[in-house]
Structure formats: C-alpha cells, structure tokens
Amino acid sequence: MLKSFLGGIHPKDSKKYTSDKAIELPPLPETVTIPMSQHIGAPCTPIVKVGDMVKKGQVIANSEAFMHSPIHASISGKVTSIAEMPHTSLVKCLSVVIKSDGLDEWVDGIPLERDWEKLEKKEVLDIIKNSGIVGMGGATFPTHVKLSPNKEVDTFIVNAAECEPYLTADYRMMIEYSDRIVTGVKIAMKTLGVSKGIIGIEDNKPEAVKAMKEAFKGTSVDIVALPTKYPQGAEKMLIKVLTSREVPSGGLPMDVGVVVQNVGTVIAIYDAVVNGIPIIQRVTTVSGDAIKEPKNLLLRIGTSFKEAISYCGGFSKTPEKLIMGGPMMGMAQFSLDVPVIKGVSGILALSKDAVNSGEESPCIRCGRCVEACPMGLIPSMLSILGERHKFKEAKEEYNLLNCIECGSCVYTCPAKRNIVQYIKYSKSQNLAMAQKK
C-alpha cells in the first residue's frame, strides 16, 4: 500500500470536458509568434533576420549560456518581424514572428530515422539539447541539464500524475502515444544509466494506467496508480510517494538519487532522438466552462491563444479568467494574443462561477491551510508576515523558501486570502534584499 504525502486537497478534477476527446490537429496557423524565452535559464538571441525564409524545424534562436534551450521555427515561411510581443509569463518578450508560406516544409535532414540504441550518452544529450527540449509539464527546465545529474542516481520517474484539474494532455498522450513513451523512457533510462523506472499516474485515470501497463509489458518499468490528491504531481510529493525518499529542503531530486520527467518530455525525447524532430509543437488542453467545445490539441509553438480557442468554438460564456496551465498553478493572462510556448500544458477559460474568488478578509486561524500544506508550512502565518512586510522573519522562522506555491492553502482558505501571492511577494523581497548586500 502506498503511503501518501501529508496535506493536499481534493478539488473537483473537471477533466470530463476533454478526457474522451482524442488529440486533434487544427489547421496550420497563418502566423506564429515565437518568444525567445520559453525555458528556465538565459533567453535566446535570434539568429534570423526580418525577411529571412525559414523552414519547419530550423533553429531560429540560440544562446551561449549553459542553462538555455534553443528555439526552432514551428512552420515554414517568412520572418516578418522581430519585436517585443505579449508573453504568457513575462508580459512582453522579444519574439520572432513567422508568416506561413502554407507549405509546412521541413528543414533539410529531418525527419530522419535513427537507431537510438547505437548512440553514445553524450550524443543523446546533445540531440536533446539541440532539439530544444525542456520540461513540458510547465516547469520548462532544460531537459539535457536534468538528464546529466552530477550526483549518483538510481531511479527514473515519469511524472504522469497530471494532478491539475481540467488538464488531460498527458492523459491523452498516454493513451494515444504509448509506444513513443516506452522508447522515450528507455532512452532516458539508458542516458541516466539507471535500471529502475517508475511511471506514476493518479488513479482517477484508470484508462491511462491500463494503456501504460500494456505498453510496458515485459520491461523493468513499474506503472504505479497513485492516490488522487493534489499536488500529487509536485515533484517532491511524487518522489516521496513512489520511493519513500524525501528531497531535502532546498535540494533537488538528484539528491535522493531520482530524476523526474513529464510524459510530454519523454515523448519529445523520443521524437528528437529517433526522428530528429525538435520541439515545434505540443499537446495542449483547451478547456474550462467558458469554452464552447473543449479539446485536446496538437498546437504549433507560437500559435496564439485566440486561434486555439476559436478552433474550439470560442467562448460559450463570458470568461472571467484566461489561464495558461492548470487552475492551481497556472498563470492568469491579460490577453488572447499570447502565444503557445513550450510549457503551455493547458489554455483555460473560466467563468466567474468556476473561479469563485470572493473578497479577501483577515485570517481566522482555522488551520485549514496548515492541514492542506504538503510541505509542512504554516501558510496563514506566511501570509500575515507578508502582509506586514516581515519578509526576513517569514524566511528564517517560517521556512518561506520551502513553499512550492502549489496553491492548496489558497484553495482551502475560507477567508479567501491570497496566500500564494503574499508568499511570492515575500520571496521576491527576500531576493531583492539578498542582492542588495
């Protein structure tokens, strides 16, 4: 019997909107807006000029920094502008705008066929790096960095929990792309030099568990159905439940010998290593109660949210919030013009009823947030300290920096306090103070 992590919440999963909808391929976008920052690390610099003709899969931006991930053209066509454009998390970001030539031609040399088993570890890592692969679950951490840990690791975990309500992209991929997942996992495990592989799936997705069990039959990879509880897909919680190992405070999964990758990332690894295809598209769930026909879409990077939503029939009622990612940790958007980037696992439009925000009032110390916090923090206190600008105390006495910002506390708070916002703010103030010194 699996031992669950402490805390957590049970929000309505709202996955029924799209869980039975097969991944659809919408028509080619006329233009794509490709931001230079789609990953954790240094932003890339464009290596194309306005007026250049580019082909699908061609590198259009790169960087010299260690922590970065190159960016590729997602359609073939002409670069019409390189300018600051709306961005999902940075508000504005330098972006390359490509107008489609309608041909959708690949750059020379891809797709190809490669026998991954004959590749050296170094070659695989280079392919992954040059293909622009980052954590596709939303964290967008460069995958080649994660797959070359500087500590001994013995376990590879595929994060297929998909604990965020509404999102079904990983779920559909497990059902529809299971063969690619199998090979992707094998490649990752060989690269890491580990023999133990685990795929963790929340048990509200029995179809996915079944599909994965079938696909991985005869391999050493375990498929584990995890109790459905948010944030089951938070890396630290997932590792704890699957291996009973606790990532130390301030540490990384590799500190306990584990590397975790998302389902989408594993598929991207397969595409890159076996077929030479870089990240030019991703599966995104377009859902929410304000979307007319919610769908799972295979979208080209740079497609605008507006285009994705209009392919889903537009809005059925007035959307109160437009969200990139899931409703628990995703980011609210101010414009429909933001583009789909590598980390966009979902596009959600929620009505006022679904958002259920309410006005913030003082903490009544009910302790529900303490019970919900998977990290063993006292969120109510962190919010009060943030409110009173006691940033240092929050950090030193209430372990501010341990917060993973999963939002469980806010979800459960009857006083509707914006605890995570106070915490993010306190973290940024601590960072500012540290930089001043």
Partner: protein, 346 residues
C-alpha cells in the same frame, strides 16, 4: 521600495484588464490558484450556530421564556454592537457573517437563564466591543469574546451570575443550585441524595434536566451539535475528547475519599465542560493553529478546569481555564509547528 510595495498590494485582489484589440473580453489577472473551495467564514460561523441550535432550543423548552429572551437578546445585541463598531470605525460591515451572532448566542448560553436582560447586553458589549473589536476584529482577538463577556459579568454582578432559580418543569430536582455547587458546598453524597441515585444524576446530566447555565445542561444535544461540526470538518474530534478526557481522568484520580474515588462521569458532564470543549476550545481564532497545538491546548484547559473544580474557590472552571489557555496560544503556536517536508538532519 515603499511605492513598489503599494503597487504590489493594490494588485493583491487581482486587477481587471481590458483587452486592447478586441474590446470584447476583459480578464481578471491575479496570482494562482484560480479556483477556490466553496467554504467561507460566514458559512463556517452559521454552521456553528446551527450546531448549537439543539441545545439552545432545549434550554428554551426547559427554562422557559426567560431563556428565550436571553438567547435572542444575546445574539441580537452582539450583532448590533458589531454593526455599530464597524459603522463607527468606517470598516466593512461584517456584522451579519454569523460570528457576532455566535458570540452573543454562546454568551447567553453560558450564563444563568434568568440573568437580567441588561446584564446580557452589558456582557455582549464587553465581548464584541472590548474583547473582539478593540483587538482588531475577527481573527485578531486573543481571547474568546464570549468568555471575556462572561468573565466581565462574573466580576461585575457575582451574585446574579451565581443565582440559579428553581426549575419549573422538573420534579426531580428541587435544589436551586447547580450540581457543581452542591458538590462544592455540600459534598458528593448530598449531590447523589439530591438526585436520588447515581443513575438518576447521570440521566439528568445527560439529558439536561438540571440547573445550570442556559445552554450548557444537555450533554447529548451538545454532543450531537459537536459531531455535526466534526463531520463538517470544522473542528477536530481530538480537542473535545482530550479536554473532557483530561477532566475525567484527573477528577477520577483525585476523588473526595482518596485516589481513584472520584466520579469522572459526573464531572465530564457537569458545568460548562461539554459546551466549552466542543464549542469554545475549538474556537478557531483563539486556539492554536496546528492539531498538535490544539491537543496541548485541550489538555491544558482540562487540567486547569479540574484544578479549579477540585481545589479552587469556584465550583466551575471551564471559562477561566479556556481564557488562560487562550493567553498561551501564541506561545504554543510559536513552538509547536508542523513537521517540515525535507527537514535536514533527519
């Protein structure tokens, strides 16, 4: 930096942004998460009021019109005082969120059903205006407002507060004192004699056909209310169990005629212990925030209650024990923290 802070704070509630080009859609931009559960403070407070309803209704049935008047005046005056304070301080009016109603109701339930109405109003003034709003209002008060109100009445009108009229509807009980009064002044055998037998004593304590504060007498109805709150997840069962259990164990060990000669069953149902343990030791604002802290709080309150009952000057000690534990709540919260995920050195 301060202007930066102000800007940040103005955003705390989320801002509505009109989309530039479409003009059709405007989206609220705020920090995650974007969905919330449907609990609210007023939902919790009204549920606690509902949980108190069976015992409150019983007190009207049992003590009659004076109890009815006191309950209504208690709740209504508390709401009125809160409204006035908030109006006067130009704060948002939250007088109808059930919290002031609850304070007033609890106050009226924790005093003699025949207490003069003006005293109830005075107690409710102290509770709401002094104990609650002078501290900053809901969430900021250190002490349980209803108990501060009760304590203020106790020192202001000690005679009226300890006068228990003969009950009109019961033939079993002839004394005009509460069971704990009889125990304190005349001893355990007199108590049993008054009620006829142990079984009769327990029966009246369980059902509530005894003298006492308006809402504290019916053990069974208070427990039903408490179970409702436990079921709803608003209170933890550990708190009442630990407080009542502690009183039971201590009063059993230190009995009137040597070790283990006490009557824990009587003590656990007597006085305001049941209402205090289920409805006041569990007060969110004034009790510790962690479960571990709440258990320490409950055991501490049980110990102090027993000490007051057994060797103190008062027959009953629930009110003061809870107020004393309220005072150490910040201290408990400072030292009792949840187990950190990934804490180093383990």
């Amino acid at each position: 930096m301060s202007s930066e802070i102000e800007v940040q704070e103005s955003k705390m509630q989320g801002i509505k942004v009109k989309e530039a080009d479409t003009q059709e859609n405007s989206f609220t931009v705020s920090a995650s998460p974007h969905i919330r559960c449907d609990e609210s403070i007023s939902k919790i407070m009204w549920n606690v009021n509902i949980a108190l309803a069976p015992a409150a209704i019983f007190s009207i049935y049992y003590f009659g019109v004076p109890a009815l008047i006191n309950l209504i005046v208690g709740a209504a005056s508390a709401v009125a005082f809160e409204y006035l304070v908030q109006k006067f301080r130009k704060k948002k009016i939250t007088a109808f969120d059930g919290s002031a109603f609850l304070t007033g109701l609890l106050l009226a339930m924790c005093v003699s059903p025949t207490l003069p109405v003006y005293m109830i109003i005075a107690g409710s003034f102290v509770a709401i205006v002094i104990a609650k709003h002078s501290m900053g209002g809901l969430g900021y008060n250190i002490f349980n407002p209803a108990h501060i109100g009760r304590a203020a009445l106790m020192v202001s009108w000690p005679v009226a507060m300890t006068t228990w009229t003969k009950m009109t509807t019961s033939v079993d009980v002839v004394s005009s004192a509460t069971p704990l009064n009889i125990l304190k002044q005349q001893g355990y055998s007199k108590l049993i004699e008054t009620f006829g037998s142990n079984i009769e004593l327990y029966k009246s304590m369980f059902i509530g056909t005894r003298n006492g504060s308006a809402g504290e007498t019916s053990t069974i109805l208070l427990i039903i209310g408490g179970i409702y709150l436990i079921y709803k997840g608003y209170i933890k069962w550990q708190v009442p169990v630990c407080m009542i259990g502690t009183v039971g164990i201590i009063t059993w060990i230190f009995g009137p005629s040597g070790l283990f000669s006490g009557d824990p069953i009587f003590h656990m149902m007597a006085g305001g212990l049941i209402i205090g343990a289920f409805f006041m030791a569990t007060d969110m604002v004034t009790a510790p925030i962690t479960l571990k802290g709440q258990i320490i709080f409950a055991v501490g309150a049980g110990v102090i209650t027993s000490l007051i009952r057994l060797i103190g000057g008062y027959p009953e000690g629930v009110c003061y024990s809870l107020l004393l534990m309220n005072a150490v709540t910040p201290l408990i919260d400072r030292f009792v923290k949840p187990k950190q995920f990934g804490a180093r050195g383990e």
